[in-house]
């Protein structure tokens, strides 16, 4: 894992001191809310429905146990004993007091964490594959490149006031576990003629106007990665629509001028940027990469697992993935107990996950964009013990990628932008489909719920998506089918008129029943939808 050098630490500590003074001035009445708001947002401090909300960055979703314990400490000391893991691989606290914010940021800085650039029209937390460094299908660990981008984008003076927020994802596997093409820039490390390079997809995103990023460059030499990224940003910064907030994202620019013209301008800019020498010397990259060296895993560790405990075997089959090193596995801890709140974890649960990481996973954890937690480097021989400890803490729900593994934004229960509640809908759906046999019969089915058009719950990318809207002061839910955030990326289509809270649950049951009656051998829900189209599902839903 990357460890701060003296520059990283100094930058974060300087920001803590600066923000502490800004908070003091605000509490003393020396500055107005209009003056203070952009300052607090630069430090991840929002004002939501019930209180201040602090969003803490988890760079590319990677944490060690010391950092995880600090997240638990903050939940316990400053919040209401829980945190909410987000679809940006971050964590949010919902009940923060303004006067506590400086102390929280100081606590975070003590473990090399911060909340910088988790809001505002800047480059946000770089996201990545939660299985990075462990996945059997990756060609390299993408995180050194994500870290390089983190350092480059932190306090970047040219890109601190972009037309709108900007999100970058980096992956290095064919399987896209990071919704890469639904980012402003999606970077996939690829191999060509024995060399690694970066494929650049630019102009994707969800929100009001969902778009899949087109391929802009199929192979950028990795030594040019920063220069090419800078060129992509510069063209956007120059021509992005600052006059209209709804058209200010890069996806609109790329769509309006076309991928070919955008590519031409990027290439022109790149030719100039390349002369500036912003790409680091290879030795500096190697210094960063060395900190992501694989942990010392025992390749002779036993590969067999005792499956005699049936409940353990169910969890093993659903929540444990192949590791690149024999005798090891990747564990995904579901934060989606039936009837629970997707992504929420108590301080005790966060502490437990930190303990498990320290003891069994070479001190590493990951936050997934699907609001779960990963132990990336686990010996197969330890899986049963881990499962037992998770089960005791209510963290062993064996539902990864099943219909109850629902992504849901905080919705109108917490968020000031939301139009409808997301969490109660997720709870009702998970409860309706609580029977695990039924869930497994449905197979992989990614259900995603947003409480407003901003799409923090990724509803466009759900095999089944739900969008909450406000219809004359009443919550109403639109149903979308056929989306995907994976390598088979697609955008869901709206089925028709929306439903009330109970009606949307019934509609989903009719959709899944239709899938079961229509599916061919081996088809997932989304495969069947793509084959048969919307019509039979609409017929099943609306008659």
């Amino acid at each position: 894992m990357y460890k701060y050098d003296e520059y990283d630490q100094a930058m974060v500590e300087a920001r803590v001191a600066e923000f502490s003074d800004q908070v003091r001035r605000r509490l003393a009445g020396e500055i107005t809310e209009d003056q203070f708001k952009p300052l607090r947002l630069m430090n991840g401090l929002y004002l939501q429905l019930h209180a201040y909300m602090l969003r803490v960055a988890v760079p590319y979703g990677t944490l060690d146990s010391r950092q995880m314990r600090m997240l638990a400490h903050i939940a316990r000391k400053y919040d209401r004993d829980y945190g909410h893991f987000t679809t940006r691989q971050n964590i949010q606290y919902n009940w923060i007091k303004l006067e506590d914010a400086p102390a929280i940021l100081a606590d975070l800085a003590s473990v090399e964490m911060h909340a910088i650039q988790t809001s505002g029209n800047c480059i946000r937390n770089i996201s990545s594959d939660q299985f990075a460094g462990a996945a059997a299908d990756e060609i390299t660990d993408p995180r050194p490149w994500a870290e390089l981008l983190r350092q480059w984008s932190s306090f970047h003076p040219e890109f601190s006031y972009l037309p709108r927020k900007f999100k970058i994802a980096v992956i290095a596997a064919e399987e896209d576990r990071a919704a890469m093409r639904l980012h402003d820039i999606g970077i996939q490390i690829v191999e060509k003629d024995g060399a690694h390079g970066a494929a650049f997809y630019v102009g994707g995103g969800m929100g009001r106007t969902p778009m899949i990023a087109p391929l802009i460059k199929d192979f950028v030499p990795l030594d040019d990665l920063l220069s090419y990224t800078e060129a992509c940003l510069r063209v956007y910064n120059r021509y992005g629509r600052r006059d209209n907030i709804y058209k200010a994202r890069i996806k609109i620019l790329v769509h309006e001028i076309g991928a070919d013209e955008y590519r031409r301008q990027v290439e022109e800019e790149f030719a100039h940027v390349k002369t500036l020498g912003i790409d680091p010397p290879r030795a500096e990259f190697d210094r960063i990469a060395a900190q992501f060296a694989p942990p010392p895993l025992d390749v002779s560790a036993p590969d067999d697992v005792d499956r005699s405990d049936p409940d353990f075997a169910v969890w093993l089959d659903q929540n444990v993935a192949a590791h690149k090193v024999p005798g090891h596995a990747i564990v995904t801890i579901s934060l989606k107990p039936v009837g629970g709140i997707p992504g929420d974890a108590s301080s005790a649960q966060i502490d437990l996950m930190a303990d498990l990481a320290e003891t069994y996973s070479h001190d590493e954890l990951r936050v997934t964009h699907a609001q779960n937690i990963v132990l990336p480097h686990v010996r197969k021989a330890d899986l049963h013990t881990i499962w037992q400890k998770l089960d005791e803490a209510g963290l062993a729900t064996p539902n990864l990628d099943l219909i109850s593994d629902i992504i849901a934004c905080p919705g109108l229960d917490y968020c000031s932008l939301a139009n409808a509640r997301s969490i109660p809908v997720a709870q009702k759906i998970a409860t309706r489909f609580a029977d695990l046999g039924r869930q497994k019969e449905l197979g992989e089915l990614k259900l995603k719920i947003s409480g407003c058009i901003n799409a923090c719950g990724h509803h466009h990318a759900g095999h089944i998506g739900i969008l909450g809207v406000d219809r004359k002061g009443t919550e109403n839910y639109q149903l979308l089918l056929g989306g995907s955030g994976a390598e088979d990326v697609s955008l869901g289509a709206i089925t028709g008129p929306g439903f009330d809270e109970d009606g949307i649950v019934d509609a989903i049951e009719r959709v899944t029943d239709k899938y079961l009656s229509e599916r061919a051998e081996g088809e997932r829900f989304v495969d069947t939808f793509r084959r048969v189209g919307m019509a039979p599902f609409k017929e099943a839903i609306y008659g």
Partner: protein
């Protein structure tokens, strides 16, 4: 009726204008009538409350209630965590919110 609401500067807690001060309890809220804008501007100057705004409300036998669901949720707390609302010991406290 019209209600004046905002979030407390220090805690961020939802707060309601009572006619002379601010309260976290919706039951204490006063009808600001046509005086809302004037009170709002005066209170903004006092800088105790963030982003105050005026909403439509209605008087019920149990006291004033916001008209819109968003402010009803603000008035009590998240519907999915009754234990974190202003009335965690009362299982019926949220019956009027949704």
């Amino acid at each position: 009726m019209k209600l004046l609401t905002g979030n407390d500067l220090k805690t961020g807690a939802v707060t309601w204008w009572t006619g002379s001060d601010w309260s976290i309890h919706i039951e204490d809220a006063a009808d600001v009538g046509e005086q809302g804008e004037a009170i709002l501007h005066a209170e903004e100057g006092a800088r105790r409350v963030n982003a105050p705004y005026i909403i439509a409300g209605e008087m019920t036998p149990d006291g004033p209630r916001p008209a819109h669901i968003k402010d009803r949720i603000r008035a009590l707390g998240p519907t999915v965590r009754p234990d974190l609302t202003l009335k965690p010991a009362d299982p019926t406290a949220g019956d009027w919110v949704i």
